[in-house]
């Protein structure tokens, strides 16, 4: 099965600022794919490039089987796109927005749009300028969903939505994925994304740090914490061969985020005389995000970060 989106080695520079550096992503069909990254990581640049709003300096892109540069109309006809700040016409009413957009899609678009605005409880005769930010987002979502696209690209789609609508929208993304449609979204709402995302990619400083199914990633990464009787002694040798993503020291307690730990790592650590209170927990998405974003960073603080799931080993 071909991937919904194929990104191979794309780079983009704006002036002297390199926003994307050799980014490669393969997004399978029928999944909810979440692109995570800090502000300025390059998420919006990547998404705009996927839609053909600018050319990448290098690399190749295929979106729903179309080349964004050579086949922009076909791409936009088959892909639903919602930007982070949809620029709707202030003087149009909600209904007029749908009528205007319906001119460029097939029959049935307007009907579907009107159904969506009913579902979202949007007043059809109200001007866009009189709507709140969240309601505008709903209008933009309705416009994108009304064409029933096979691929949805959403840039911060839930920004401005209240928690209830945000949750219901994201859960509807699951239903779309189940129906075979692909959802590609970028977001900062870790807790909500964690509930719906099948795959995640973390973008940091223009480079992809990790691309993997969320569950696999959670299984593959553990947070190991332990306390030291004598902090001056060296770290256990068992940790030397591990892929430590992040290390945090808080007094006598050390917390390590390790990817792909060996099976007997915990047993080895438990045999170390200098260590006690050894615990292993599965990280949350937020912790994964922080870990991959700050990979290699050694943090020293007095406050111990909490974990959602822990297992005490010793």
């Amino acid at each position: 099965m071909t991937d919904a989106i194929q990104i191979q080695g794309v780079s983009k520079t704006f002036g002297r600022n390199q926003v994307l550096n050799n980014v490669s992503l393969m997004i399978p069909q029928g999944v909810v794919f979440a692109l995570l990254g800090e502000n300025g990581a390059g998420k919006s640049t990547l998404i705009r490039g996927l839609m053909g709003y600018h050319r990448f300096d290098s690399g190749q892109v295929s979106v729903a089987g179309f080349d964004p540069i050579r086949q922009p109309l076909e791409l936009r006809r088959n892909v639903g796109y919602v930007s982070d700040a949809p620029g709707l016409y202030e003087w149009m009413s909600v209904a007029e927005c749908g009528w205007y957009a319906s001119g460029f899609f097939e029959q049935g678009y307007l009907t579907a749009f009107n159904n969506f605005i009913v579902e979202f409880d949007l007043p059809p005769d109200t001007r866009i300028s009189d709507l709140s930010k969240g309601m505008r987002a709903k209008v933009a979502l309705s416009l994108a969903l009304a064409s029933d696209p096979q691929l949805l690209i959403l840039d911060e789609p839930t920004s401005g939505l209240d928690p209830l609508v945000r949750r219901s929208f994201l859960e509807s993304m699951i239903d779309r994925a189940a129906a075979g449609q692909t959802v590609f979204l970028s977001s900062h709402q870790m807790h909500e994304v964690e509930r719906v995302a099948d795959w995640i990619a973390i973008l940091h400083d223009g480079q992809v740090q990790v691309v993997a199914p969320l569950e696999d990633l959670k299984r593959d990464v553990v947070i190991i914490s332990f306390s030291l009787r004598d902090p001056l002694l060296a770290m256990p040798a068992a940790l030397d061969d591990q892929n430590v993503l992040r290390r945090a020291t808080h007094g006598r307690t050390t917390q390590l985020m390790v990817r792909g730990p060996s099976d007997d790592l915990l047993r080895q650590l438990s045999q170390e005389p200098n260590l006690f209170e050894i615990q292993s927990v599965r990280p949350s998405l937020e912790e994964l995000y922080i870990g991959f974003s700050q990979s290699g960073l050694v943090e020293t603080s007095t406050v111990l970060p909490t974990s959602t799931e822990q297992s005490e080993v010793a």
Binding site: F14, G15, R16, N17, R48, M51, G52, Y53, H54, R55, I69, P72, L73, E74, R76, R77, Y81, S83, A85, P86, G87, L88, Y89, E90, W91, M92, W99, Y100, A101, S102, G103, F104, F105, Q107, G108, Y109, L110, T111, A112, N114, N115, F116, E119, A140, L145, A146, S147, D148, L164, V165, R167, S168, F169, E171, S172, D175, R176, A179, Q181
Partner: protein
């Protein structure tokens, strides 16, 4: 809350069929054209309303202005407004369809839909062109109406001359292309329009002046075009347009797709943490004003530099036409005012100031300092440029001061009240142009109506006109800034419109009110005729103001007054018939040439050999007789005889003038009317045309006095107009001055008609009774008008102007005493009466009665 559990596909399949039929989708072209039209509609409406309002005001003022020349100028301005409106519409369309869309983000969203760039561009071009044509069509209605009323150059000729020429067409296409291109390349809408303006002015300056160095005859804006120069200019502009069109297509395609977020700058500039000028001030305690001033200065600095450049180019292009330069300078000055608050409205940036509790006064001071200094530079450039021209009236730079202040403040107010910069710019420019036109109309109306009867109020009203507007606007800016900072969502647009209308129309009403107060009519009452003629109505000296405004002439002549009252020459014919009867034989044959010669010799001998009769009636009869003979001679193409007869008539009139000026005027009027029976062709056929026309014109100190020629030409025109012949030249006001039911029932029209007639009478009486030499700038109309002032007296009786009892003076044989009762009585019966049997005062009254048409005829 219900969760979304069904995808769109499932929903569609679940929908009953009749529900889907309720929603009719748009076609691509429907959607695009509708959207683009709705996008430009507010700006288009602002332009149409503003320009139409100006046209209607100019039309209204044309009804009130006395001077035919000014009415023609008004008609010309009405037409110019219509013809330049397409350019304004194109500017607004470019700003709204591309600039504003890019700034607001709708461009990005719209391009995310499956819309091809070709369709998008075509739709925008169609809407631009359609809106331009719509504006042109709607704004041509008033010129058509004014042309019907006032005559003048036909509308179709104007339109054809303007748009039919290749250069004009190329200019329009270039404006459309390059303004669209500029809004594609530059993100800030006003910056883009400004750059495009600079480009257009610069290239046109080069193209239109290039032939000067290439072709022998050269090309000059005010002279007849050289054919080669036209070809060169049109060809150059055509090439420029083609290049622009290709660039537009390429740029549009790029911006619609992969160039959405690209900028023309090579790299992002580093953010300065502390701007360099502040390094000096780092040593000082920072103050709110200093920070605001710095922010005001840095904000829109590129725009202000561009506006200064625009002013320089305007001066270069319009240096030979200082009046037009003055009006055009409104644009950079208004845009300069616009830059004061323009940057704050984008993305609600003003909230940064509002959230920090910035003092509105400090803010206004800082903004005025930054923007006002630039406006001062622009005004100085315009003033220097206008003074460069050799044809400058000296008062023009003085008028620039209130104009500059007004334009700047209008721009400032609009930037404050309108969130969208392009709408603010459109409203500001249109409002300023409208205000300038209205002020000019009000000014000219006041000056020209009351040149001879000025009132001190309206002299100082000139200063008031220039001060009221700016003061009101400044106070409004202060008030609105406070509201704007404190109350975020308060809509100020409607208040702005109200203020602009007040500033534009207020002086007009103020001027009209002051004019009403200054009506000199009551001065006529109770004065004898001679005293009226000698009445010296004081007034302020308007010489300086006259220097500012071009020379004027009264719009109305006695012939037009006669036309107003449907005056015909029947009574003249009656008396002429009697005279002819006296010299025809019993069988009714007209005298032969020999008989005419004999009659001429007889009359001549009576005048030159015998003592001239002391009885006015004798003279009157002889004048009539000689004129009648002259007409007969004219019809027989006996030129020499005709001239001799008419010379005799003139001599008799001169004698009669010494005896009794008013009556002689009456007699001269009879002679004039008889000559009016001749057609233009008949007069032109006569070789001694100048001699004939001199009968209508008084002796002047110097025959070569320039306006004597004008008087003769004017007399020729008047005859043609009265007879309905094709006019030798276009003339404003041909069929306008009617004292019909409309004029009688609309007080302002009636009032001004009466004033005009009273003024004409005043001038006529002064001239006759005073025996003054003709004033240096007296209109040639007065010369012809005075001849029939008796008619005016008769007409004045219907206008309730009374003439009282006279006192005789030794220099005059008799003052005309027209009893009030006789003047107020209707026209007498048609039965002739021997005037000689009547006493002198009754003879005068009888002469008037003979001339006045009966009620039936009226």
């Amino acid at each position: 809350m219900q969760t979304l559990v069904q995808s769109g596909t499932q929903l569609k399949s679940a929908m009953p069929l009749q529900s889907t039929q309720q929603f009719l989708s748009a076609t691509p072209w429907q959607a695009l054209l509708w959207k683009d039209y709705r996008q430009v509609r507010p700006a288009l409406a602002a332009i149409l309303i503003g320009m139409l309002g100006c046209q209607l005001l100019l039309l209204m003022s044309a009804f009130l202005i006395d001077s035919a020349g000014l009415r023609e100028a008004n008609a010309g301005m009405i037409m110019v407004i219509a013809l330049v409106s397409p350019i304004l519409v194109v500017l607004a369309c470019c700003g709204m369809l591309i600039g504003h869309e890019r700034q607001s983000g709708t461009w990005h969203w719209s391009s995310g839909l499956p819309i091809g760039w070709q369709k998008s561009l075509t739709s925008k071009l169609l809407v631009c062109l359609g809106s331009s044509l719509l504006a042109l069509g709607l704004l041509l209605i008033v010129p058509l109406f004014s042309w019907q009323l006032f005559g003048g150059q036909g509308v179709e000729k104007w339109v054809f001359d303007t748009y039919g020429s290749t250069i004009s067409l190329m200019l329009f296409l270039n404006v459309l292309t390059y303004f669209l291109l500029s809004t594609l390349l530059f993100r800030e809408t006003l910056n883009a329009l400004l750059i495009a303006m600079l480009w257009m002015l610069g290239t046109n300056l080069v193209i239109l002046n290039m032939p000067l160095g290439i072709f022998e005859n050269g090309y000059q804006l005010n002279q007849k075009l050289n054919q080669q120069a036209i070809l060169w200019s049109a060809g150059s502009m055509g090439v420029l347009w083609l290049v622009g069109l290709v660039a537009l297509v390429v740029a549009y395609r790029w911006r619609w797709s992969t160039g959405q977020f690209s900028t023309l700058r090579r790299g992002r500039s580093a953010v300065r943490t502390i701007p360099r000028p502040l390094h000096i001030w780092d040593q000082l305690q920072p103050s709110e004003f200093r920070m605001l001033w710095h922010q005001s200065w840095r904000n829109s600095i590129a725009k202000r530099a561009g506006l200064v450049g625009l002013a320089v180019l305007m001066v270069a292009l319009l240096v030979s036409n200082p009046s037009l330069l003055l009006v055009a300078s409104v644009i950079p000055l208004t845009l300069c005012g616009l830059t004061t608050f323009e940057g704050d409205q984008v993305n609600h940036r003003f909230r940064f100031l509002a959230d920090r509790g910035v003092s509105p006064r400090q803010l206004i001071r800082a903004r005025l300092l930054a923007g006002g200094s630039t406006a001062l530079v622009i005004a100085t450039i315009v003033a220097l440029g206008s003074m460069w021209s050799m044809e400058l009236p000296s008062g023009l730079p003085v008028m620039l001061v209130p104009l500059a202040v007004l334009s700047f403040l209008v721009g400032m107010l609009c930037a404050l009240c309108f969130r969208k910069p392009i709408v603010a710019g459109t409203v500001a420019v249109v409002a300023c142009l409208a205000t300038v036109i209205i002020y000019a109309s009000a000014l000219s109306y006041r000056i020209y109506v009351y040149e001879s009867n000025p009132h001190w109020l309206f002299v100082y009203a000139l200063l008031v006109l220039g001060l009221v507007g700016p003061i009101v606007l400044y106070l409004a800016v202060r008030r609105f800034t406070k509201i704007w900072l404190i109350q975020d969502q308060l809509r100020l647009e409607s208040r702005c419109f109200g203020l602009l209308m007040f500033v534009a129309l207020g002086p007009l009403f103020l001027s009209a009110a002051l004019g009403f107060l200054a009506v000199p009519n009551p001065r006529w009452q109770g004065l004898p005729l001679a005293a009226q003629a000698e009445a010296n109505i004081q007034g302020p000296d308007l010489n300086r103001t006259r220097q500012i405004l071009p020379a004027w002439e009264p719009a109305i002549t006695v012939h037009e007054i006669q036309y107003i009252f449907n005056f015909d020459s029947e009574h003249f014919y009656e008396r002429a018939s009697k005279a002819l009867d006296a010299i025809t034989d019993d069988d009714g044959f007209a005298p032969s040439s020999s008989d005419l010669s004999t009659a001429l010799e007889t009359l001549d001998s009576r005048v030159t050999i015998e003592q001239p009769t002391r009885y006015y009636d004798d003279l009157s009869t002889m004048i009539v007789e000689s004129t009648a003979l002259g007409i007969i001679a004219c019809r027989r193409q006996e030129t020499e005889l005709a001239v001799s007869m008419l010379k005799l008539s003139r001599n008799l009139q001169q004698i009669a003038l010494e005896l009794n000026p008013p009556q002689t005027v009456n007699a001269r009027n009879l002679a004039c009317e008889m000559l009016l029976t001749l057609t233009i062709d008949q007069l032109h056929d006569l070789s001694e045309l100048s001699e004939l026309e001199s009968v209508l014109v008084l002796d002047v100190p110097d025959e070569s006095y320039p306006w004597t020629q004008q008087a003769k030409g004017q007399a020729t025109w008047d005859r043609a107009a009265l007879r309905g012949d094709p006019l030798p030249q276009s003339r404003f006001g041909k069929h306008f001055w009617r004292y019909d039911w409309l004029t009688r029932n609309i007080p302002p029209l009636r009032w001004r008609q009466e004033r005009q007639i009273a003024r004409t009478l005043d001038a006529s009486l002064k001239f006759i009774a005073g025996g003054q030499p003709l004033p240096a700038r007296t209109s040639p109309h007065f010369v012809a008008d005075y001849l029939a002032h008796q008619s005016l007296l008769a007409r004045l009786s219907t206008l309730k102007v009374k003439v009282g009892a006279a006192t005789s003076t030794p220099e005059r044989s008799a003052d005309v005493i027209v009893p009030e009762q006789e003047l107020l009585t209707p026209a007498p019966s048609t039965e002739p009466a021997d005037a000689r049997d009547l006493p002198p005062n009754r003879q005068a009254g009888k002469a008037d009665e003979d001339q006045s048409p009966s009620d039936d005829e009226r």
